[in-house]
Symmetry: C2
Subunit: 470 residues, 2 copies
């Protein structure tokens, strides 16, 4: 969605906001903040999308307080924008119609760890790093890793995933149950703690990925996994992106339970090598990781190496030493910073799409050609086991024509992915930035989403203007 369209958006008439802020101050005192710095820090800051600040920020510490905030806002038809860490990429935390940012970061308690059931119950402000730190002595971990140290409530709300999704799934697969405060102030628990159920509509999955537009998530029951006995990570270079992708296809088909399989194109490798001082060649490469027993990990790596060799891949440089593994994945996770070396002084803007893996090489190839023809710089990295890849555009934010070119490129990228039976967003969500692409992807399905939204939130107070305009 073009910047100018977002800025030109006509807000609904929200006359009750002043009354809401007054009531919130009465109820929450100093935990209601209206200073500009705090308000701006609670709106979008991570891309070129505009920063649309809320009228106030309220810091909640319990589910009952969230319910109180929602009831006060509902009484005045005031928008509520849930906020975790603000690391989302498509404008999810903006307040285009004004309203109240509901900061959940102080709801950061791990309420229970059920080791026998491989699950835990947490508040939504717990971050993924915070959860894994808490789990340190249990032998368990939570695998989903979108890069940023996001809050798990936010990750659920945007259906986040990341490097481990090829083996462990996305937030869709790893939320057992959740509590949410709905638009009318009622608190629901969407499921009990059984690992599977066929009791009625899957309200858990409806809330996961709803981007705060149906309710505020106040508690999550998440799946946990045993820390693998052995972990082997490595890098394998390829002559071309297509060779690397064909290796991925065959690896997955062969049933190797690869834990991570990440593509860096030549330009990304160039940046990573320079930034992380890696002794590697700037060729398209796969970063891989295998989990299991020592014997299983060795067998997985061997089979992978044979497949890679069949597709012109070089030797797999691999290690199971934690410090080597950390160095490798730090280099991958630092790609945002590394990319900026390709154009000092620029701003890095990440966008993502996801296609069937059979179309991935085509989609990346066409996209690389498009980047070049557009005069842009955009290294590509991908969670290729899932067919998901990111373009990190390096932009001069002062150059309006370049922003226009970037927007036009992103629209073509989304259309290209959809044309290949893929999605305009594999893991970033729709928010404001991709609202314009949703109907091209899903057609009249969007109308049924809106019917659900209108039924559950008739005053459109739950994060309005995200995913779609009601």
């Amino acid at each position: 969605m073009a910047l100018k369209d977002i800025l030109a958006e006509r807000p609904a008439v929200r006359t009750g906001i002043a009354a809401t802020v007054a009531s919130l101050k009465e109820a929450f005192g100093e935990r209601v903040v209206t200073g500009e710095d705090v308000r701006r820090a609670h709106a979008h800051t991570t891309t070129y999308l505009p920063n649309q600040a809320p009228d106030a920020v309220v810091f909640a510490t319990t589910e009952a307080e969230v319910q109180k905030v929602v009831r006060i806002c509902a009484a005045n038809a005031t928008p509520i924008i849930p906020f975790g860490t603000g690391s989302s990429l498509e404008g999810h935390v903006n307040a285009p119609q004004g309203g109240v940012s509901l900061d959940l970061s102080r709801m950061d308690r791990v309420l229970a760890v059920h080791a026998e059931d491989l699950d835990c119950v947490i508040e939504p402000g717990v971050t993924r790093e915070g959860l894994n730190a808490h789990l340190r002595d249990t032998g368990l971990f939570f695998p989903i890793d979108p890069g940023a140290n996001a809050s798990l409530g936010g990750m659920a709300a945007t259906r986040a995933s990341g490097t481990n999704a090829v083996r462990y799934g996305t937030m869709r697969d790893n939320v057992v149950s959740l509590n949410a405060v709905m638009a009318d102030g009622r608190i629901i628990r969407t499921a009990r703690r059984a690992k599977k159920t066929s009791a009625g509509y899957d309200m858990t999955r409806l809330l996961v990925g709803s981007e705060g537009t149906l309710g505020v998530i106040t508690q999550l029951t998440l799946k946990l996994y045993g820390i693998p006995e052995d972990v082997l990570a490595g890098v394998c270079p390829f002559p071309t992106v297509r060779d690397a992708v064909n290796t991925v296809i065959q690896t997955v088909q062969t049933g190797i339970p690869v834990a991570r399989i990440e593509l860096l194109d030549a330009q990304s490798m160039e940046a990573a090598i320079a930034y992380a001082k890696l002794d590697l060649k700037p060729q398209p490469s796969l970063f891989v990781e295998f989990h299991g027993s020592p014997a299983s990990v060795a067998e997985q790596a061997e089979t992978f190496s044979m497949i890679a060799a069949d597709h012109g891949g070089g030797a797999l440089e691999a290690s199971n030493r934690p410090e080597e593994r950390s160095r490798l994945w730090k280099a991958r996770h630092d790609m945002y910073w590394a990319s900026m070396l390709l154009r000092p002084g620029s701003r890095a803007i990440a966008t993502d799409v996801c296609v069937p893996v059979s179309r991935l090489a085509d989609c990346i190839g066409d996209t690389q050609a498009d980047i070049e023809a557009s005069g842009l710089i955009g290294p590509i990295i991908g969670h290729v086991g899932d067919g998901n890849f990111h373009v990190t555009l390096l932009l001069d934010m002062e150059d309006g024509r370049e922003i226009d070119a970037a927007e036009a490129f992103m629209a073509r990228l989304a259309a290209r992915a959809v044309e290949m039976d893929g999605t305009c967003t594999g893991e970033h969500g729709i928010g404001q930035g991709k609202r314009g692409y949703l109907r091209a992807e899903l057609g009249e399905t969007v109308d049924f989403m809106k019917m659900i939204k209108a039924a559950l939130d008739p005053k459109d107070i739950m994060n309005p203007g995200k995913i779609f305009m009601l």
Copy 2:
């Protein structure tokens, strides 16, 4: 829900049914059947729930025909009950308010197999055995196996699972996308073919498990898996159910990717031994299966055996010979017939619940005591890796007091599972039979389900009276 309550249910006034049947006959000719035998065969036949026949059965062969049926029914507010093979267990295919059974069994084409993407596109009448027969030469398979040779449309509609779910997930996890004809006659496709997406509400998961109450599924894109290189299956006896369950807990915690792990209690073993002429002891036993490379399978079996021995388990009698494996799983799948040997002339009625696995031994123990105290015969089998188990009650259908006792027992079983933070149904669905338990499990969440149903199907024509009464 008690039999008498279902029979006493006051149907909504559905005055347009005769007009609907006349219009359908005009449109579909001889593919509209109103003979009693066919109508009765299209209503519930698998348990003691009453057979509530529709007014007519129409056999559709294309999505466009389904749309036509829905439009004709919608014009007269006539109920539409989708029908696959009729193997559901909770009255899903009954027509308590009359209406039209929409038989989809002739929509049985496999439309595409995308081997590189590990998915296929099928019509809803394809059965799981039909799909796997079609896939025979591809090296791929579809793992979900609820026992019956159900249609995949029905399996999606009821969120079915079965013995393989511990490794491969349920229908929730294995439907990539689906087409549905909604109550207003519009056709939607809920997602594209990308393996993951964060584009808007998860309409796929909303339709999966909705039991035909939101729309008629007309196409499915399903995940496929490579047939494992090696498969090892075996049986391991235990002194007690608790020892077996503790073995399951530790097996899953250890990260052994067990493909099946099924519990048979002593009574079930007694029946299985007699029916399938197995050379085993009538002790609580785990039937297990491991998938992977020969080395991985051997390692999994070895680790499992060590865990089992720690809990008093006997030797794992295992084989990777297809005929031996088939014999073993046939014995497991034939439990329905085998159970009847425990009481010749009786009718076998299966019910299921699912609890966190840490509570499974308690739940089964309490349930066994309850069965005995109730004077019932009910062997127990379970997909115990998921905490899911079945009680097969062997009833004299002529004895009203026994039916009453069985109903009271099933209500206590559902309440017991919910009290242990589980669900009243792990994989059979709610239908009519478990409607009375849903609110105890999910509280006001049910109200939000109803709001969605009312928004998407305001005339309540889509399989009315299932999951809840609107």
